[in-house]
Symmetry: C2
Subunit: 109 residues, 2 copies
DNA sequence: CGTCTTGGTAAGTCATGGCTTACGGTAAGT
DNA sequence: ACTTACCGTAAGCCATGACTTACCAAGACG
């Protein structure tokens, strides 16, 4: 499984998306993150593992705690993918619209 | 469930992402799409339903066939979300780096 | 009309994934 | 050294979801 596949799969879960949104405010330890969600701490640990495997977050040990923060690598990759797809889709739309006016009648003939 | 939730969930499946990539080349009927994948036609129909509910594709009946094509609405929404998230994440990174030089020693004191 | 093509839906199977509790392991504080 | 705080992992449960086959509706076409 590529990192991109893993990233999209990771984004499929609402809790994981919320975690990413939360981490925009800066690094946070597991306990703090878990405190914001109605699920157990191990559940959050598992989500963080998925996000880490997808290169969407990185860990940094700090004493007995582990600080998680956003990983620019995965985020940049996702953004690039979207940007490219969007552009190509736009081209397709244009080509569609500008297609040699086929049966494009005003009023009824 | 919001359209955005539905969109991200829809992107979680590799086959559905492939379908979207395929539809960049323009509208296609179900049979043609199904022919490109190693799964049955009903499976594709179900995937298309998910994509439609997520506003990522639209259907247009054409005789006995149904042409599926990309839906700019959902795609634009996703792109906007990513763009915003990326920008905010960038700000967070900057704030992180430019934080009042805390214990930033050159060489060892 | 009858038939053939096209495709959506129902029902059932099976794997996956998200959750929980229980446990173990490491660093900090006394 | 003993205890406490923090967190990852294992094991098991259960809902969800991706797939199959079977069936049915509707437009094209002789």
């Amino acid at each position: 499984m590529t990192y991109q596949d893993a990233s999209f799969a990771a984004l499929g879960d609402p809790t994981r998306r919320q975690i990413l949104l939360l981490l925009r405010d800066g690094p946070a330890p597991v306990g703090t993150i878990a405190g914001r969600f109605p699920v157990s701490r191990p559940a959050i640990s598992q989500h963080l593992k998925v996000l880490k495997d997808a290169q969407l977050v990185v860990v940094r040990p700090a004493g007995t705690r582990r600080l998680y923060e956003l990983d620019p690598r995965g985020l940049a990759a996702l953004r690039a993918f979207f940007e490219q797809f969007w552009n190509e889709a736009l081209l397709a739309f244009k080509a569609e619209v500008e297609r040699p006016t086929r049966a494009r009648r005003r009023r009824t003939p």
